[in-house]
Symmetry: C2
Subunit: 285 residues, 2 copies
């Protein structure tokens, strides 16, 4: 595995790969790899002739007062893990290489970015779509891999790739969870043992919500009240939002009579956690 620091090095590598007619997979990350990242990397390595992983803590997707400065970083360990998984290129650019002096260009996806996390993280998705487009342009992958845990991000990126006529397949991969159900996240490292226990209200309330729909509850309002009442019983966690939305448009639904996504965000102390459950209904009643 080679570690490349500049756009021009990645371009030179990409030209060589194109000459070999090899398929290229990209896994965009902010580092601090956990099993979720590794599941994406393994799938890319299995799917593609060569795999690139980008590691860039993208400042433009953090809002004011968010955790840009404290975001976990461990480049040495990430290099070791990626290398062991058979990654070919780790692209870890300095910020000045991605956002040079005078940088002025932003990609915005309308509608899908206004609800859910978009209501609480102004500018977040603009930063995400801009950096992902840049990474897709530099690496020019045939496939790029994203976790379903960041469900809104995945839907927004799919929309962007389709709208901008990019020829890259976006592959969504299932959320990887701790044995007790908490979705893997680099931010879980912020939690104290007590907070870590309290955080379970997030996956448990969403699992309960999914089960309610699967067993016939069709009223989104009633399902969401069940989520809220679980949060009301957990003093260390405060719910930021819980919504039931269309899987593609992310528009809230009133009736759970088709495939939906139940998505929620909460604060545990200062730590913001998100999770979601997809509900696939065999029959559409």
């Amino acid at each position: 595995m080679v570690v490349l620091k500049s756009v021009s090095e990645v371009r030179a590598w990409r030209r060589r790969v194109r000459a070999d007619d090899a398929s290229v997979g990209l896994v965009p990350t902010m580092g601090a790899f956990h099993q979720g990242h590794l599941s994406l990397i393994r799938r890319a390595v299995a799917d593609c002739d060569v795999t690139a992983v980008s590691l860039f803590v993208n400042p433009t997707q953090f809002g004011r007062g968010e955790d840009l400065e404290s975001y976990p970083q461990d480049l040495e360990r990430d290099v070791e893990l990626a290398s062991r998984e058979g990654v070919d290129v780790l692209f870890a650019p300095p910020t000045a290489n991605m956002y040079a002096e005078g940088y002025a260009t932003w990609v915005e996806v309308e509608r899908l970015t206004t609800g859910l996390c978009g209501r609480f993280r102004a500018g977040h998705f603009r930063g995400v779509t801009t950096i992902v487009l840049k990474l897709l342009n530099v690496v020019q992958p045939d496939r790029a891999y994203f976790g379903e845990k960041d469900y809104q991000q995945l839907a927004v990126i799919r929309r962007m790739v389709q709208d901008l006529d990019l020829e890259c397949e976006i592959v969504g991969m299932p959320t990887i969870r701790e044995p007790d159900g908490l979705a893997m996240s680099s931010r879980n490292a912020y939690l104290s043992p007590e907070q870590r226990r309290a955080a379970l209200v997030l996956p448990r309330s969403l699992t309960k919500a999914r089960q309610l729909i699967e067993s016939g509850q069709r009223s989104a309002g009633k399902v969401l009240r069940a989520v809220k009442s679980r949060f009301a019983a957990e003093p260390l966690a405060s719910l930021q939002y819980a919504e039931i939305v269309d899987p593609d448009t992310l528009e809230p639904v009133e009736r759970c009579d088709r495939d939906v996504v139940i998505a929620a965000a909460c604060l545990v102390g200062d730590t913001r956690l998100i999770d979601n459950q997809m509900v696939k209904l065999r029959e559409r009643a």
Copy 2:
């Protein structure tokens, strides 16, 4: 020459061209070809192994009350002209192929788009950058050609291509003029004979401004007053703006002691015309 109507046809063509390792030039146009377009096409045909010309009257770069409905169109003549110049592919998609149902993604270049024409055409440059990025993604040219007559557009596109890490060379080509000095524009067709004569105040006042700087005038304010006084003497034309700006940042300058661009827009009747003059100062005094 083939005329292609869909993104998927262009992609299939592009794959064949890539297999041949041929260089690709793109000339994005809104059709109604005049000598300005033809100069871009000739340069692309001369520079590149294969040349694609796109012909798309992009609705998202027209503001409310602008001339989208009346914009000149003559596909048959354009096809004939492009074919005669040795163009390989004319890409003329229907609007629904470029902006499908649910379209939601926009590219914005900050700062460079707020002054000059940006003050008078809200959303215009967002429409331009979005469609140009889409065309670059579909055609994947090695070089794309734009006229210097739309100077702000050229600077904005250069900025976008650099910021988004696109590997495409943007080639700016000199403004082509009628024998009496009026810059070629599809919109010149809107002018009555009397308006056509009045429109000469635009190129003439800008030429005068350039000459003032070249002969030593360093005050941007004084140069612009000379432009305004020429417009004051032409009752059929009203100046929208005249500015002297940095060629890259488009920031207004006060002192003309380095390379600058003098840019202006005016209305002649309902017809909006733009023009500019680049001033290259050998010494920077």
